[in-house]
Each structure stands twice: as structure tokens, then as C-alpha cells.
């Protein structure tokens, strides 16, 4: 429930940083599109940069949203097989998932850095924003996801140590 007080996990620094950034990005996207509608119907003037700004924002919203989803463990996933595993096999499967996810994100981040470097001379047509600015969301998103994947795996391991082994 949205009005619930934040948990200890949500108060941690990486979470707070992601949450503040998400609020700024979502507010900016609402503002851009609202300005586009208002300019057309209220001041009868077609503003051209709002659509471009919104398109630049969406990569950041996607990247940050992916980090928040990793933090909240809410990415699409199927647990059909893993949920049937117990004990040591389950721990191994969980660590395998973390390993695959972390390795992928590191490679994704590396690809993002190379992509940003490749774009360093290109700018957007109306706002003249260097394309590397919106695309910087990719490596940052990858790093953020790695942090939360590892934290999730560690938390799950310490929880399973505390819980008694099922019969």
C-alpha cells in the first residue's frame, strides 16, 4: 500500500537515491506532455521540444524502473521449477540465477559504456542534448541492478540460514 511507512530496506541509500531520481523523472515526463497539451489548446502555440525531451527521458525511466524492479524483486519471472526445489538444491539454483543475472548486467553495462562513447559527438536535433546523456542510463542501470541482485541473494541466504529446514 502506497501510504505504508517505508521499510528498513527502502530507507537504504541506494534505494533512496533511486526513489528520488524516479520522482524527478516521472514529474519531468508529466510536465513535458502536459506542456505539449497546454501549448496546443491554451496558448495555441506548437512547442516542438517537448516530444523530444519526453523521448530522451524514457530511457532513464526504463533504466531506473528496472533498478527499482530489481530492488523490489518485481521483474517478470517464472518460478515453476525453482519453487519446487528445496534445501541445498534451492540455494544452488538461487545462486546460479544471481550469477547469470550479474554476469549479464556487467556485459550489458560494458556494452552501454561503449555505446555512449560511440555517441559522444551526436546531439539531438531540437534540444542539442548529446545522445550520450540519455544513454548513460544504460550502464548506470546495469550497475544498479547488479547491486540489488547481489543484495537479494545475500538476504535470501541469510533468511534461509535462520529458517528451519523443511521436512
Amino acid at each position: 500500500m502506497s501510504s505504508d511507512p517505508p521499510t528498513e530496506e527502502q530507507r537504504t541509500a541506494p534505494n533512496r537515491l533511486a526513489q528520488v531520481s524516479a520522482t524527478i523523472l516521472m514529474s519531468a515526463s508529466v510536465l513535458c506532455v502536459a506542456l505539449q497539451v497546454l501549448s496546443r489548446y491554451v496558448i495555441h502555440l506548437q512547442i516542438t521540444w517537448t516530444e523530444e525531451a519526453a523521448r530522451l527521458l524514457i530511457v532513464w525511466i526504463a533504466g531506473l524502473g528496472a533498478v527499482l524492479s530489481a530492488a523490489g524483486d518485481s521483474h517478470f519471472r517464472t518460478n515453476l521449477i525453482v519453487s519446487r526445489l528445496r534445501g541445498r538444491t534451492r540455494h544452488l539454483a538461487d545462486w546460479a540465477v544471481t550469477l547469470v543475472s550479474t554476469a549479464f548486467c556487467l556485459m550489458f553495462g560494458y556494452a552501454g559504456v561503449r555505446f555512449c562513447i560511440g555517441l559522444s559527438d551526436d546531439v539531438s536535433p531540437i534540444l542539442s542534448v548529446p545522445y550520450s546523456v540519455p544513454m548513460a542510463a544504460i550502464p548506470l542501470c546495469a550497475i544498479g541492478m547488479v547491486v540489488f541482485f547481489i543484495r537479494r541473494a545475500l538476504a535470501s541466504q541469510s533468511a534461509s540460514r535462520r529458517a528451519p529446514e523443511p521436512d
Binding site: 516521472m26 524492479s69 519471472r77 515453476l80 540465477v97 540519455p134
Partner: protein
């Protein structure tokens, strides 16, 4: 082993291991790019960003935010109150109420399972309090979750429109009649079961009616703004989503007073999080689609389908079996993102209108939410109702068969989907 097979092994191996679907899709693309040469790895980031470079995609976070504001700010509650009154005199009225609530409010969060969890958490305990049979409560809630995604402004419609390069406005209009048919049949079925089982009916006074309608008027205007604005050509779907956010916030803050300004950031964070899960899949699926196009996989799938499907009927049968199978093990949205760009051009070759075909596929996806072994909506509603999954499965059989019959009707009668977009000049 060739590159395509290895990529597919990584994709399905990852998904079955329990890796996030977006990561599995991205890893499959990455393996393919690495096998082409290490200099191709940059394409993963390039195609990810390209897949998100679309103004209509901004409708996704904005509609999700609008949905969260409606729920937290009392708009959803007022809509439900009107529905509760309307269904008060009907035997087993909580069943149709659940259907209507899900129908009105669902589709905007990007996940039918999340819709079922949100609405079921309110309606199932209420049905328990009123002594409704719990298998019926679970079945009605799950079946409701399978109907809403065809109604605009569903995220599924927006995603299919963008990935298959179709008019989102036309898809919105095309989904309305099939969605209403699904709803009417589900309500009729739940009423028939309620009458057969002699479930209770509660009547409300005329005064209560007047007062509720008056209080709910600002809430009732919201769907009119969204659909009316798009249909009248006043807004694009993205702009309509933004107008819904602003209108919803103003009504929740100043008319109902149920939302505080300091709660807005929390709702924005939640919307950003839900959006991230959807858009991350979209970006990764674009990278995998590029790899598959490079490797001529669509042509191979086309050739396979053309060999095995000699008629439109057989083509639709194969497509429906694929989506039913996929829906058994995972949320359908990632499958839509990967498969629709391949299947829509193929459907056109079989003489199907792409808008009609997309609605058929989405109607099929609705079925996959409720059929075992992994009908997510059914699992969630059974968990909330605290009953065994097999009792819920038995109770949902009539709803599943009704939706299956409607899927056949939607496929067989193109005018059910195409009449409205044609009427408003959005397709020829």
C-alpha cells in the same frame, strides 16, 4: 550448434531456471552477438535504446501512474461504490461487481496478475464476509482478470501497437466490443451460478443512489476524458494518459481530499518501478528481435508456419496453440513483445487484418491468465481465497469455456473488432 539454437537454449534455459525474463531475453541476444564477434556486443545497448525510442511508450508510465492515483485518491473506490449500488439488487451481486471493478480498473498496470491481486485483495475478503462460496469468489476474480486487458487504455494494447507498428487508437477502439462481450458473458455466467446457488441480494434506497451518483460524478468523468479525448482526436494516447494523471491528481487532492501531495512521490516511484519491469523487457526483446531478423529467424518461422498451415484457420490455430503454451509458463507480455513483430506480417499474408489478428491474440492471452498449470490470475485469487488450486480450477471451468467460445467468435467474425475503428475512420 548454430547461433540461433544456442540463443534459444539460453532464452528458455534462463526462463526455466527462474532468471528474470528480461535478463533471459537479453542474455540470449548477447550470446548471439558475442558469437558474431566481440565488436557486436555494443549492439545490445544500441538495440535496447532503439526499442524504447518511441513517444507512445511514455503512455505506459503515465497510465500506470494514473491508475495508482485513482486507487490511492479514492476515484477507484467511488467507481466501485457506483457498481456496488448497481449490482446491489442482483443475486450474488459481488460476482458481477468484481467483474466490473476489474474491467474498469484493470489493464493499466501492465500485468493482469497485479490487477487480480489488487482487486481480489478487496473483493474476496468481502465475499467471504458475505458467506459466498470461496471457489466461486476465486473463479470470478481470476476470470475478471482475464477480461480487462482488451479494454483501453490497456498496456498490452499499447505495447502491441508499438512493436507491431499498428495504430494504437485503432487498437483501442478494436478492443472495446470484444472486451464488452467478454464482460457480458462473464457477468451472465456468474449470475447464473449465483441464482443456481441461491446467493444473497441486497437492495439500496433511492436516496443512497442519488447521493452515491453525485459523489462519484468526478470519478465517472475520468474514463470519458481518456477515451473521449482519444476518439475525438483531441489527444494522442500518451497525452490522454498525462491528462488522466493531472485530472486524477486534481480530483483526488481537491475534490475527494483522499490524497496528500506528499504521497505523490511514492506513487511516482511505484509507477516507475512497474514501468521498468515492462520497458526493460521491451528493450531487450528489441535486441533479440534484431538478432533474429539478422539470422533470418522470422523467415524460418514463416516458412515453418506456411508448410504446416495451408489456410487462415490453421494459421490461427497454430498461433493460438503457441500463445496458450507460452501463457502456461509465463506472463504473456514478453511473449507478445518478441512474437508479434514476426506474426503480424505473416497474418497479413494469410489475409487477416493486423488489428483483428492482434485482438485475437490478446483474447487468447486472456485465457492463458486462468488456465493451469500456471494461470497466474487463478493462482493469485486461489491464494487470496485460501483454497486449494484444484477447487479453484474446477470452479473456473465454465468461465474458461465461455472465454474460449468468445475467442472463436472474435476470430470468426472480424466485424466484432473492425467495425468501431472503421466507423471512426482509423482503418480502411
Amino acid at each position: 550448434m548454430n547461433r540461433q539454437v544456442l540463443s534459444l537454449l539460453v532464452l528458455f534455459g534462463g526462463i526455466f531456471l527462474g532468471v528474470d525474463v528480461a535478463v533471459a531475453i537479453g542474455a540470449a541476444a548477447l550470446v548471439g552477438f558475442l558469437l558474431l564477434g566481440s565488436e557486436f556486443t555494443m549492439l545490445l545497448a544500441d538495440k535496447f535504446a532503439e526499442g524504447l525510442d518511441s513517444f507512445p511508450f511514455l503512455a505506459i508510465p503515465l497510465f500506470i501512474l494514473a491508475g495508482k492515483i485513482m486507487t490511492r485518491g479514492g476515484i477507484a473506490r467511488h467507481l466501485v461504490q457506483v457498481l456496488l449500488l448497481a449490482m446491489g439488487g442482483v443475486p450474488g451481486g459481488m460476482g458481477p461487481l468484481t467483474m466490473l471493478s476489474t474491467f474498469v480498473l484493470s489493464g493499466v498496470c501492465g500485468s493482469a496478475s497485479a490487477d487480480t491481486a489488487a482487486i481480489g485483495a478487496v473483493t474476496i475478503p468481502e465475499m467471504r464476509r458475505r458467506n459466498y462460496p470461496m471457489p466461486f469468489a476465486a473463479a470470478v476474480t481470476a476470470a475478471a482478470g482475464a477480461t480487462g486487458h482488451l479494454l483501453p487504455p490497456s498496456i498490452d494494447l499499447i505495447v502491441v501497437g508499438v512493436v507491431a507498428n499498428l495504430s494504437i487508437g485503432a487498437l483501442f477502439l478494436a478492443g472495446i466490443i470484444p472486451a464488452l462481450l467478454n464482460l457480458v458473458s462473464m457477468i451472465a455466467l456468474s449470475l447464473a451460478i449465483a441464482i443456481y446457488r441461491r446467493m444473497p441480494a441486497e437492495r439500496e434506497s433511492r436516496e443512497r443512489w442519488k447521493q452515491t451518483l453525485l459523489n462519484s460524478l468526478p470519478a465517472l468523468v475520468m474514463p470519458v476524458i481518456i477515451l473521449g479525448g482519444i476518439r475525438a482526436g483531441l489527444f494522442t494516447p500518451t497525452e490522454a494518459a498525462c491528462v488522466a494523471v493531472v485530472y486524477g491528481a486534481l480530483v483526488s487532492l481537491f475534490v475527494y481530499g483522499e490524497l496528500r501531495v506528499r504521497e505523490l512521490p511514492t506513487l511516482m516511484v511505484e509507477a516507475c518501478q512497474a514501468t521498468g519491469a515492462v520497458l526493460f523487457v521491451l528493450g531487450m526483446a528489441n535486441a533479440l528481435s534484431f538478432l533474429f531478423s539478422f539470422e533470418q529467424v522470422p523467415q524460418a518461422i514463416s516458412a515453418f508456419i506456411r508448410v504446416h498451415a495451408t489456410s487462415t484457420f490453421e494459421f490461427l490455430l497454430i498461433v493460438n496453440v503457441i500463445f496458450l503454451g507460452v501463457g502456461m509458463v509465463m506472463d504473456a507480455l514478453p511473449a507478445l513483445i518478441v512474437l508479434m513483430p514476426i506474426l503480424v506480417p505473416l497474418a497479413e499474408r494469410f489475409g487477416l487484418n493486423p488489428i483483428h489478428f492482434s485482438v485475437i491474440v490478446l483474447a487468447n492471452v486472456g485465457l492463458s491468465f486462468i488456465h493451469p498449470p500456471a494461470g497466474l490470475c487463478l493462482y493469485i485469487s486461489a491464494a487470496i481465497a485460501r483454497i486449494d488450486i484444484w477447487r479453484a480450477t474446477k470452479a473456473i471451468v465454465p468461465f474458461f469455456l465461455a472465454l474460449l467460445a468468445l475467442l472463436v467468435a472474435i476470430a470468426a467474425i472480424p466485424e466484432l473488432t473492425l467495425w468501431l475503428p472503421r466507423r471512426y475512420g482509423l482503418i480502411r
